[in-house]
Symmetry: C2
Subunit: 372 residues, 2 copies
Amino acid sequence: MNSVGVVTPQRATFDTPITLQSGATLPGFELVYETYGELNAERSNAVLVCHALSGSHHVAGTYAGQPKNVGWWDNLVGPGKPLDTNRFFVVGVNNLGGCYGSTGPMSRNPATGRPYGADFPVVTVEDWVVAQARLADHLGIVSWAAVVGGSVGGMQALEWTLQYPSRVRHALVIASTPKLTAQNIAFNEVARQAILSDPDFHGGHFYEHGAVPARGLRLARMLGHITYLSSNQMAEKFGRELRHGKLSYGYDTDFQVESYLRYQGDKFTGFFDANTYLITTKALDYFDPARDYGGDLKAALARATAGFFVASFTTDWRFLPERSRELVYALLHNGRDVTYAEIDCDAGHDSFLLDDAHYHADVAAYLDRIET
Amino acid sequence: MNSVGVVTPQRATFDTPITLQSGATLPGFELVYETYGELNAERSNAVLVCHALSGSHHVAGTYAGQPKNVGWWDNLVGPGKPLDTNRFFVVGVNNLGGCYGSTGPMSRNPATGRPYGADFPVVTVEDWVVAQARLADHLGIVSWAAVVGGSVGGMQALEWTLQYPSRVRHALVIASTPKLTAQNIAFNEVARQAILSDPDFHGGHFYEHGAVPARGLRLARMLGHITYLSSNQMAEKFGRELRHGKLSYGYDTDFQVESYLRYQGDKFTGFFDANTYLITTKALDYFDPARDYGGDLKAALARATAGFFVASFTTDWRFLPERSRELVYALLHNGRDVTYAEIDCDAGHDSFLLDDAHYHADVAAYLDRIET
């Protein structure tokens, strides 16, 4: 109900070279994207949705013949939904370095004729936004009514306001942070080491070996899942329930939570690319707009002119509400128009993906105010 | 200073078979232990110190010719220290299934003549305590003045009061919990999967292959370390400091915290056994004295007659103070004599290993009261 319905991914090709923050240059690239709703005559109602670690361009709707392949933010995006496609022209894009069809480690390296693999350069949040701006040009969108994202998607929304202040009128930064903590980096590092040390990784050139570093990717995903959920939610969802009613005194599954993690880990290895995982965690670790301002976030955000909606979730221990508040204070210091919602939701970091009533009402109220 | 000085491990051999909770039987076993101080004529001043995951029987002092090989709780145990060896006869023991000399997966399986490896049975906290009771018999100790432990060591102290109420007069349960949460189990499961999926694990029989599942053990330890520290302490200790002053745009070490974790992980693989790691995490997961009482901890603790000192640390997110309070409430419900200290220390779970002044003063005050 209220779905954008069946959608078809599109592809944009960019032949101008792009120089990345690392100094590496790609001769050109492609981005896969989807759109929902209609771009108005003034081209003033476009909203960009940025995806998080495992997300994609498939934000809403389904694919022909695949009714269960529902977009990852379908509960938020659609006709009559908080991000209302009756009013907005919504764009979802798979980021550069991704594994859902945009140019990334699985793509053919024109210099060698083989997949990039480990030779695909590390990209940053800043690089993603540069690539997204090319897509905006391609679509004839001079200025986004809003850029919206959760988690690392929120970093992209924030980065848009800094890199292209005149091209974004509102930013919705949800369950995000202006920079990772040492603990956040530490979790990412364990995930990376799991992949890098998997013998099937082959230094990042596993495609040519017909291999997949499934062991490492599985561990990375299992670990990730722990950090996406709150401890209380895990306790409520799984408790200490035994899978087979008694202790095994072995290493098969004893507790339901083990079964859940193994399932999530196994599933992930079937569709996600290990090199993209590495790149994305690095983009997360590196993001820090205050770095060039001696750590002064207020100074770093002085460039931003957009209006901001910032939301955090009380049980998100990955990106604590405190991190969102830092962002809010720095924006207020710069006289920006900021709406801040700290939402009481039990689901931890992943709350941003749920259709919590208060949360969605807050997003809807903010977006309803936006002039197009 | 105030060290017990140079100590020598001793070995006790038990020829009577031991049947474990799993139903498996060991034909006999050995325990390696150390003692500090003098057992008094009444044999009433003995204190057992139980170790946590990576700890050992080497609680205090040093070894001849190894002045840097200091016991893991040397700051707490010694002449004039909170656990005062001028007054108490202190015993440290490597648990059954351990890898520091007690019978465990690295020991020779008399049935095959080869190392047990994966054939060593899963042991539980209850089993450890049964084995420790045999050591008490061996030493002629009918009743411990106190059993002391932090983390899973605290579980052993608690278990003593339930399994042998007449043989323990005081239990010091520090930075512990009456049972793991789903999140705790989840972290243990990721660590286990890292080891079990390492190709060098060889189904637990890696000794015979001249291999060590170092990749998996390293990941397990890196992950463990994140959960032992508080996020704030990690931020203070490492922040976002770069190891080489600039971003690498690659997968070498960028941040100091990565370097720290890799170092800890690598070091661990040099001395710890992967099978013992697996066994110990299972013992942690399984511990739940309330299991046989329909989850009613109050009913489960009715057997205990000891006096209790319970301590938790405000920044311990692995075993929250809330968990210790549950234990305290259940003990008070049973009319037990309980001292509870909730200590403000920034170091997370590992606080129990530090010489925080308030913490040590509380331990000292409690132990000073004990009659011997």
